[in-house]
Symmetry: C2
Subunit: 117 residues, 2 copies
DNA sequence: TTAGTATATGAACAGATATTCATATAAGGG
DNA sequence: CCCTTATATGAATATCTGTTCATATACTAA
């Protein structure tokens, strides 16, 4: 065994061990896309409001200080990722959370931020 | 009370109730930035490898199929967000996770993805 | 010192993305 | 019917972001 750096010299066995139990690349990509949804200030704000109450688009826009159009675009993203669900009542569409794990995600993030202050 | 849509007509009291317990805008922004770090395929891949072993830049590049430079750039992002830590040994820099909650984050994401298949 | 290796960094480019604006759809009231 | 309101959608734009390439730094060995 030389004193040389063992970088780029991981054995096939070690590579196998490291890759053992890792999700498939497609799964990791799905996960990245899932986290990406939460990685935006506007969307996260909307989700926080929805964690408190079922709200229509106009109310969300008013609370978040956004245009209804921008809210609608973001809600579409949240819908496509099955993070919110909606209910129509006349011309009004009420949105609410469609995921039980969101509060858990928020808490994990807050814990991380507090520990690193 | 009219039959009119109550959008944009939330009372000050309701607004207060909804905003009650919400983190400050700056905190929500911090959270969004935290999630953003996980919202990228390359970074998530690197974090998965690091969850299995302490690894140097070259090994990470080899495992992830990325250039060392790209890995280094991403590791900087992870360092700045205090998600990984490093240890120097000669010219080699070994990286490892610096957050106990990452596995929890991964599990939450996986759970969400599995429930919506 | 000189050469070689591991990592980091800055600039530049390409691709992604959030917002805005204009417009479309859809439902209700008059 | 027409008019208004609530929401959705498409295109355009400006900003952000990840990678690459070239180069710099830092450490080791000879």
């Amino acid at each position: 065994m030389s004193t040389q750096c063992n970088c780029k010299m991981i054995s096939a066995k070690e590579i196998d061990e490291i890759k053992q139990g890792l999700p498939a690349a497609a799964t990791i990509e799905d996960m990245a896309n899932f986290f990406k949804v939460f990685g935006d200030f506007s969307r996260l704000k909307l989700l926080y409001y929805l964690s408190k109450a079922e709200l229509c688009v106009a109310d969300l826009a008013s609370l978040a200080g956004m245009q209804a159009s921008a809210v609608s675009h973001q809600l579409k993203t949240l819908r496509l990722n099955r993070i919110v669900k909606y209910r129509k009542e006349g011309t009004v569409v009420y949105y609410s959370l469609d995921d039980q794990h969101i509060e858990g995600l928020f808490e994990l993030a807050l814990t991380h931020l507090q520990e690193n202050r």
